[in-house]
């Protein structure tokens, strides 16, 4: 992956992977998967919050 336009290429690659994962699922099931995946995001947001606060203290 060329470093120059990595932002574009990486975004496309991420979307391709996500689409592949949801392929063939009903919209309801896709929403269920998205909700579960959101828990990971919440945990990571919390980790960033805790570590930034601790480092700033």
């Amino acid at each position: 992956m060329s470093e120059e336009t990595k932002s574009l290429k990486l975004t496309e690659e991420l979307r391709r992977e996500a689409e592949r994962l949801l392929e063939g699922l009903s919209i309801k099931k896709q929403a269920e998967v998205l909700k579960e995946a959101e828990k990971i995001m919440h945990s990571l947001e919390r980790i960033v919050e805790i570590t930034s606060k601790a480092k700033a203290a």
């Binding site: 470093e3 120059e4 932002s7 991420l14 309801k28 998205l34 959101e38 960033v48």
Partner: protein
């Protein structure tokens, strides 16, 4: 003005060597000075960053860095309903918008968050022509019109 950021701008902001890094930073500065509200959608980010890491789970380790970038640039992470988001993206697809789900989700998120603009470095997938088609669908179902452009066009005052 409410501006919705596509994920490639967040990624460009996180990569100093990226071709779009400098202009992305400049855009964020200008947007801040102009007092524009900059938003991203949590569920659309989850689609890209978490589901997008399904094949290469180590990519999950990049997410805290993206979140820091979002925080540093005071971008608001807004929520939409999961099902509503996916249904609207599917509606765009059914109505003949020739884009993949990943891009349609961002058009849908931007619409549901009532943004004035969706900005992206990907002009092929986020442009005036496609935004006009999306707006026609939105109008029919009582949703807001949407415009799509690049940060550079906004910086150069080509769109208002």
């Amino acid at each position: 003005m409410k501006i919705y950021l596509d994920t490639n701008i967040i990624i460009a902001l996180s990569l100093p060597e990226d071709y779009f890094h400098r202009d992305s930073r400049l855009f964020m500065e200008v947007a801040k000075q102009a007092d524009h509200k900059i938003v991203v959608c949590r569920q659309a980010l989850v689609f890209d960053f978490v589901l997008g890491a399904s094949k290469k789970p180590t990519r999950l380790y990049d997410i805290p860095n993206y979140l820091k970038i979002i925080k540093t640039h005071r971008v608001k992470i807004a929520d939409v309903d999961h099902l509503e988001l996916l249904k609207l993206a599917a509606k765009y697809h059914e109505e003949g918008i020739e884009l993949k789900l990943g891009d349609l989700i961002h058009y849908a998120a931007s619409t549901l968050l009532q943004s004035d603009f969706i900005v992206s470095w990907n002009e092929r997938h986020f442009n005036e022509k496609l935004a006009r088609k999306i707006s026609e669908i939105n109008r029919r179902i009582g949703l807001k019109d949407i415009k799509a452009t690049t940060p550079k066009n906004i910086l150069e005052g080509k769109v208002r």
